[in-house]
């Protein structure tokens, strides 16, 4: 899948979870910048999984710290 398209779909999904309206860039971190707690992570991951019909296991989540890494991970999975 096209990275730009994936990016814009994920950006739309972040919106309701981005309570402080942080400007999201490639290097934005979920736990640090966006202050996601574990419940928020679960809901957010579920939203992405449903949108792209993929699984992002907790093992994979552990490798994803930034927004850019998430987009890449979704691209590589959704592209399969």
């Amino acid at each position: 899948m096209d990275r730009a398209e994936t990016d814009s779909r994920i950006r739309a999904l972040i919106e309701p979870f981005n309570k402080k309206n942080i400007q999201v860039a490639e290097g934005t971190t979920f736990s640090g910048d966006l202050e996601f707690d574990s419940l928020t992570v679960m809901d957010f991951v579920a939203a992405i999984e449903d949108e792209f019909d993929i699984i992002i296991s907790m093992n994979q989540q552990a490798e994803i710290e930034t927004y850019g890494e998430l987009v890449s991970a979704v691209c590589s999975q959704a592209g399969k």
Binding site: D37, M42, A46, I55
Partner: protein, 416 residues
């Protein structure tokens, strides 16, 4: 507890400037300090100086009614249970000093496994040193690299740790949400092994899982199913086999995990199953192999208790009556509870925040009542809870006394 726990970061100089590995706990130390600075008794270092019965003890010097022990069936002082333990202690000694697979399987370990097979009417039973280790061992051993574990987000720590110990992909879903579970199962790549992990009763809120629906749905997706029935044994289901039995799906469950530390009234954990290859787990499950087996007195008390639980109809009725009365009484007083209806022997009282929770916990203790204070991260959605677990041996009058204590404490703290 030692003073050290209240002293945050006093780093000692290390060669090369390496950090003090203990510094990472400073936030926990700070939270604890703030709580204790408010003048509350430390909720996490209570000492029971004497235990008088399953429902009464002397705690921090006070006569106290116990309402947070998970001693659901009150078996801890059962005369037959105690006699069996004393006999085994005298005949077999104080400990086995060995692993189940070496010198640590005595007649009593076999016997308690027989008792479990009888209790659950299943082919196989494997006893671990704790329920924590049963989950750790069974989950990490069953699901290997390339397999998927799909589990409820509110699972007990021992389930999460079992996932962490193994190499499988771990995929959580929203609490008790069958649709979310099924969606995840459907997305697992073809050919991968799938283990669904559920609990009968979730111990934080005391709510029951819709197992009939969930187990069936998991099976339809080709998953194997493990259900932790730690908080249901002995009083839920026609034969006390738990929520899966109660909802008519025990036959479809591949592995049931349980513990001796609640209804059975001692310590130990187990897995029961009808899987034809089950026995091989004894050789490949590391938390079973690489630890000493339970002492002979413990397995003797467990076996006696389990067999008595098979005929404990009166106790079950008393436990349910207590649970219903406490639930209804607390609601009438205006407390917010974890479930609309009493679903188990756990009644969780929601606190507005940790500070009020700790104040309320202390006020109850001063009244002479012990409940569990549960707080994040053990609780779902960052809740602070006062968890009450009933015992079949609480008398009707005791339950009324408890309600009076809650009323006074709740008003004093300003929660009701």
């Amino acid at each position: 507890m030692s003073e050290g726990v209240a002293e945050a970061d006093q780093p000692i100089e290390r060669v090369g400037g390496a950090p003090d590995l203990m510094s990472k706990f400073d936030p926990v130390i700070a939270t604890r300090e703030a709580l204790l600075a408010g003048g509350v008794e430390d909720p996490f270092s209570l000492v029971m100086e004497r235990v008088l019965s399953p429902t009464k003890a002397i705690c921090n010097g006070r006569d106290t009614i116990l309402l947070g022990t998970y001693n659901y069936m009150g078996m801890t002082f059962d005369p037959d249970v105690i006699a069996a333990g004393e006999r085994a202690l005298a005949d077999f000694g104080s400990g086995t000093t060995g692993s189940r697979v070496l010198n640590g399987t005595y007649q009593g370990h076999r016997d308690v496994e027989d008792a479990l097979r009888e209790f659950y009417a299943m082919d196989h039973a494997m006893v671990f040193s704790t329920g924590y280790q049963a989950n750790l061992g069974i989950i990490s051993t069953l699901a290997g690299k390339g397999d998927y574990i799909v589990l409820d987000i509110d699972s007990h720590a021992s389930i999460w740790d079992g996932c962490a110990l193994g190499n499988a992909e771990v995929v959580p879903f929203r609490h008790n949400d069958t649709e979310a579970m099924v969606k995840r199962l459907k997305r697992i790549p073809d050919g991968a092994g799938k283990l669904v992990v559920l609990e009968g009763v979730y111990s934080m809120l005391g709510d029951v899982a819709p197992l009939r629906e969930m187990v069936g749905a998991a099976k339809e997706e080709g998953a194997m199913v493990l259900v932790d029935e730690a908080h249901s044994m002995g009083f839920i289901g026609e034969n006390g086999r738990g929520v899966a039995e109660d909802q008519g799906v025990l036959d479809e469950v591949d592995f049931v995990i349980g513990t001796f530390s609640k209804s059975v009234g001692t310590v130990g954990g187990f897995c029961v199953s009808n899987h034809p290859k089950f026995e091989i787990l004894r050789l490949v499950c590391r938390p079973y192999v690489f630890t000493a087996s339970l002492p002979p007195s413990v397995v003797a008390t467990a076996a006696t208790s389990i067999r008595k639980l098979m005929q404990a109809g009166d106790k079950r009725a008393a436990l349910w009556a207590n649970s219903k009365r406490l639930h209804a009484g607390l609601r009438e007083l205006g407390f917010t509870l974890g479930t609309e209806e009493p679903q188990s022997a756990i009644v969780a009282v929601m606190m507005p925040d940790l500070e009020h929770g700790a104040m309320m916990w202390q006020a109850l203790l001063h009244e002479g009542l012990y409940v569990n204070l549960a707080r994040p991260p053990a609780t779902p959605a960052n809740m602070t809870l006062l968890r009450c677990s009933l015992c079949a041996e609480h008398s009707e009058e005791e339950v009324e006394t408890i309600l009076g204590m809650f009323e006074r404490a709740g008003k004093a703290v300003g929660i009701i």
